[in-house]
């Protein structure tokens, strides 16, 4: 069976629909700013996986409870818990505007946090909460209609409004893996058009991240670049080193070296 005619080309399709489809935009590409933001969030998540995992489940349960029972009092509790759960994924003070809220935040950390993270999270509960850092908190409490918006902008606003000292700690905490991956992605993209540039980026990666996580990824890109540049002796030397690591790398290394030999 072959594909149907596309509606835009089908004279039997309504003309207005054909016009709409002819003018319809394609999916937008991922811009570098958004890529950077998502990478940072991912790095933070990977540092606190258990808390975020449980937090997502509890947020859903908390939202369902608020809808089912209604009431401003219950809504205020849920809103605060949602704020706390969001803040757990961001290294900022956990929002607590009163002693009661602080106590609830402490209880939540006790419930959801693993042993490894509980101490750090409890410290964040005790940190003073600058009002400017949580512009949504007061607004949400006074306007319950915002409670279930689940505004995706809230975590970004929290991070953006954090004091400079906290922001710098966010940068230190979250930049490593994300920067590594981004740099290697740039190197990988350069392989086809400019393997020399890819090699330079790999060198920079080595200097910048002496204790890198993505070392195998880096080495494979380096090998690929050397092969493309026909620097045979270096490629073979590196290939032997990678093969010596054994198992999963051998096949990939062999493929690259074989391609280098056949491209002579």
């Amino acid at each position: 069976m072959s594909d149907p005619i596309r509606l835009v080309d089908d004279p039997r399709a309504p003309s207005e629909l054909r016009n709409l489809l002819a003018r319809a935009p394609r999916a937008r590409a991922l811009d570098p700013t958004a890529r950077h933001r998502i990478g940072r969030r991912l790095a933070r998540f990977l540092a606190l996986p258990l808390v975020l995992t449980v937090g997502l489940t509890m947020k859903t349960a908390a939202a369902a409870l608020a809808v089912a029972t209604g009431g401003l009092v219950v809504g205020a509790v849920v809103i605060h818990e949602v704020q706390v759960l969001r803040a757990l994924s961001v290294p900022l003070p956990i929002p607590s505007h009163s002693a009661t809220q602080r106590q609830r935040a402490r209880a939540m950390v006790e419930r959801v946090a693993s042993d490894a993270t509980r101490r750090e999270l409890l410290e964040r509960v005790e940190m003073p909460t600058p009002a400017a850092a949580f512009p949504d908190a007061d607004t949400a409490v006074s306007n319950p209609s915002l409670a279930s918006r689940g505004s995706p902008a809230a975590p970004r606003k929290l991070a953006a409004a954090a004091p400079a000292s906290v922001q710098s700690s966010i940068g230190v905490q979250s930049s490593g893996l994300e920067l590594e991956a981004a740099m290697l992605e740039t190197a990988r993209r350069a392989l086809a058009t400019s393997p020399a540039e890819a090699l330079a980026i790999v060198g920079e990666h080595r200097a910048r991240f002496p204790r890198a996580t993505l070392t195998s990824e880096r080495d494979l890109i380096q090998l690929d670049a050397l092969c493309r540049m026909q620097r045979r002796a270096e490629a073979r030397q590196l290939g032997n080193l990678l093969r010596a690591r054994g198992g999963l790398y051998a096949e990939r290394v062999d493929r690259l070296l074989e391609k280098m030999d056949t491209d002579e």
Partner: protein, 197 residues
């Protein structure tokens, strides 16, 4: 049943991705992000995730990848596995939209190149109308429709991406077209009622 090695599964097209050290743990979320962020971003748009929710949705997909990486058995392409996760995340977003106070209107992406204010107005209206027509579609139907009718992919390619038989894609496309037709009819009726007043 033939099982691909970790390298084969991750080395799709021009990948130079690092194979995971331990095959039992599956693909690492950080590497999936480094290699397939663009794919996730576009796929979620095809499934109707709003512009404002895209970053959160991508994050959700990566969370699922991290939590469920052990379940990837390397029998399908990695992008197929990721596409399935995107579908589930998009379905969850759609269900959650009923609990939001604001109306849920899935958006089509913005065109970057604008010529005149008139072009901008036409584009805005096109987007708004098409979003309304597609808003009633489930993510898998919407993805099939958008990928075929707008992105111009073949049904075979869409089937491989989705990990379903091509017949299923024909069926989804047919269903999507029916729903779009009905939505178009409703638009016409409400436009006529507006005229008659």
């Amino acid at each position: 049943m033939h099982r691909r090695t970790v390298e084969q599964a991750l080395a799709i097209e021009r990948d130079v991705a690092e194979p995971t050290a331990d095959r039992r743990t599956g693909p690492e979320a950080a590497l999936v992000y480094a290699e397939h962020a663009e794919f996730l971003w576009r796929s979620l748009q095809h499934m109707g995730i709003r512009e404002a929710d895209l970053e959160d949705a991508v994050q959700e997909v990566l969370v699922v990848v991290h939590r469920r990486r052990g379940s990837y058995n390397y029998e399908c392409r990695l992008t197929t596995w990721l596409f399935g996760i995107c579908l589930r995340v998009a379905s969850r977003h759609r269900r959650r939209a009923y609990f939001r106070w604001e109306r849920h209107e899935a958006e089509l992406p913005e065109l970057i190149d604008h010529h005149t204010p008139e072009d901008q107005l036409i584009e805005h209206r096109t987007k708004a109308t098409l979003n309304r027509l597609l808003s009633g579609l489930r993510p898998e139907h919407r993805a099939a429709f958008v990928l075929f009718e707008i992105e111009g992919q073949s049904c075979q390619d869409i089937a491989e991406l989705s990990g379903v038989p091509v017949g299923t894609i024909y069926s989804r496309l047919h269903k999507a077209r029916q729903l779009v037709d009905r939505a178009l009819e409703r638009e016409r009726l409400s436009a006529r009622k507006g005229h008659d007043r």
